[in-house]
């Protein structure tokens, strides 16, 4: 019997590199959502990124201080190979792409012909299209180090320049793009001004503290800020970051180790102070979102704080409930990078944090440990409504986002 031989179709892209279109890189995500049937669900990505330093020459033109604005402009015009003006950070220690193994983390150099909107809008649209997102909350990337800036004034200057650029040049480009504006937390009175100035801008749905910093979140100087944010009705996010120079991470000799701990550590410390100092009791209407630390740390901290609290209640007299009860009512969590090596542990974690109401899906695209929506969709212990809530409905409730009737499930 003759064997019928058919020719194979070569894929148009044989090797994905830094110039590959986002839609091609993420084609499998789109295909999965269409095949599995969740493409028309409400999907909200609470934590995606753009690399603001690619556009830093534009951002610095939004600096309010005329002297610094001129200096920054000159710096970017005249200096060759210089890092972004005024930014502190990790310079060459950016090993996220694992030596070039993950090209989209190395760089996004794909062609963008559309000049009607900013390039970042086009790139974000391509990611939204691929993940089938209804909304994407954009965060900066190198600016996540700003809390460690040796000049607190520069944190103020650069946060506000970025917020202006974001609200004037990026968000107007697509109503699906949202932001939690970055507040200069090391200078509380300026943080209040930032909330006043940008809190009502179209597309601004919350406020962000970049978590890597040494200011205690329970300091009395933040009470006015928390009251102001509470009154806006918009959440306050703590966006994690790493900081290799932190003494607690000084012995880590790999990015793998440092990043695994660092991206959780700052939020663990802030959460501990946040709860034990009774901030949720003082500002019961203030919702917080704990961003990009994954969620495996939460059950650990819940158990640890509950255990110690019962023995030392006199050190946390503002609390009327167990620490863990604040952590799964007033606090919300973004899902990425979702630790899923042990499904029993994942299920227990979802139960402890009350994922059905408190968990918000996030991709963290385009970073090396991004999650696609199937990470939630494929969870074996969730029913359809739980998946819909985590992928989008929880975020819609928290941030007041529009939900189409067919997306309510």
């Amino acid at each position: 019997m003759d064997v019928r031989i058919t020719p194979a179709q070569p894929m148009p892209i044989q090797e994905i590199d830094v110039r590959t279109d986002t839609r091609d890189i993420l084609a499998h995500s789109r295909k999965h959502s269409e095949k599995a049937g969740y493409a028309d669900w409400l999907i909200v990505d609470i934590d995606a990124h753009h690399t603001e330093t690619v556009s830093w020459g534009e951002v610095v033109k939004f600096i309010d201080d005329p002297v610094l604005r001129d200096q920054a402009d000159t710096y970017h015009r005249d200096r060759v190979g210089a890092p972004p003006y005024g930014l502190n950070g990790d310079l060459g220690l950016r090993y996220q792409d694992v030596g070039g193994r993950i090209p989209h983390q190395s760089g996004i150099r794909e062609t963008v012909d559309d000049t009607s909107v900013h390039r970042d809008v086009t790139l974000s649209r391509r990611a939204m299209d691929s993940f089938q997102l209804d909304y994407m909350v954009l965060f900066p990337t190198p600016m996540l180090f700003l809390g460690m800036h040796p000049q607190p004034y520069m944190e103020v200057v650069l946060c506000n320049a970025y917020n202006r650029w974001l609200t004037e040049e990026i968000l107007p480009g697509d109503p699906k793009l949202k932001a939690m504006v970055v507040i200069p937390f090391n200078t509380p009175e300026e943080a209040c001004k930032t909330v006043e100035r940008f809190g009502k801008c179209p597309g601004v749905i919350g406020f962000t503290v970049t978590s890597t910093r040494y200011k205690p979140v329970h300091s009395n100087e933040y009470m006015r800020l928390y009251r102001m944010i509470e009154e806006t009705g918009k959440p306050l996010g703590f966006h994690a970051g790493y900081h290799w120079q932190d003494p607690s991470l000084a012995t880590c000799n790999s990015f793998l180790g440092m990043h695994s701990l660092g991206f959780v550590w700052a939020n663990m410390v802030h959460m501990t102070n946040w709860v034990l100092n009774g901030i949720p009791e003082r500002f019961p209407g203030l919702k917080t979102v704990w961003i990009e630390s994954g969620i495996a740390w939460v059950p650990f901290l819940m158990q640890r704080l509950d255990e110690q609290y019962l023995m030392r209640q006199s050190e946390a007299p503002l609390l009327k409930r167990m620490p863990s009860e604040y952590m799964n009512t007033n606090c919300f969590y973004t899902s990425q990078p979702l630790e899923k090596g042990n499904m029993k542990a994942v299920e227990c974690t979802f139960d402890m944090i009350k994922a059905e109401t408190q968990l918000l899906f996030a991709t963290d695209w385009p970073h090396f440990d991004f999650d696609s929506p199937r990470v939630i969709y494929d969870m074996p212990f969730l029913d359809e409504m739980q998946k819909r809530r985590i992928l989008g409905l929880n975020a819609a409730e928290l941030f007041g986002l529009e939900v189409k009737p067919h997306q309510r499930g």
């Binding site: 019928r4 031989i5 070569p10 894929m11 193994r101 993950i102 991004f370 999650d371 696609s372």
Partner: protein, 122 residues
């Protein structure tokens, strides 16, 4: 089961690959040291396009006789295909993750006859 022609042996670089679509299934056919291997283009981690990733030689840590560390080197001859989504690495020959052999690519049967490379697909 259908037999699908991927190309002639001499059309492959060594090491090299051709990533093809057969219906809705994407398959990476790899050539390494004159041998052919084929894997479904679907990373077991999150479904990334693993066969469209970059090649990297396996990395080793160099230890002294006293177990002290002396940096890293490559294990020449062991080639990995690395998923471009998240960096999961797989041995091109075995399809297994070097750090977790239970995590492995789905194999596809390859046949080489008369200078032609065929794969057998459901």
């Amino acid at each position: 089961m259908q037999t699908v022609r991927v190309g002639r042996v001499n059309e492959f670089e060594d090491p090299g690959r051709k990533v093809v679509a057969v219906g809705e299934t994407e398959i990476g056919v790899f050539c390494l040291d004159g041998e052919f291997y084929a894997w479904v283009n679907d990373c077991p981690h999150q479904g990334g396009p693993v066969c469209q990733g970059r090649f990297f030689t396996k990395v080793l840590e160099v230890l002294g006789a006293d177990q002290s560390s002396h940096g890293r080197t490559y294990e020449e001859g062991t080639l990995h295909i690395v998923c471009p989504w998240h960096g999961f690495e797989y041995d091109v020959r075995t399809g297994k993750h070097p750090g977790a052999p239970d995590i492995a690519l789905t194999p596809v049967t390859v046949q080489v006859q008369d200078g032609e490379v065929h794969i057998l697909v459901d």
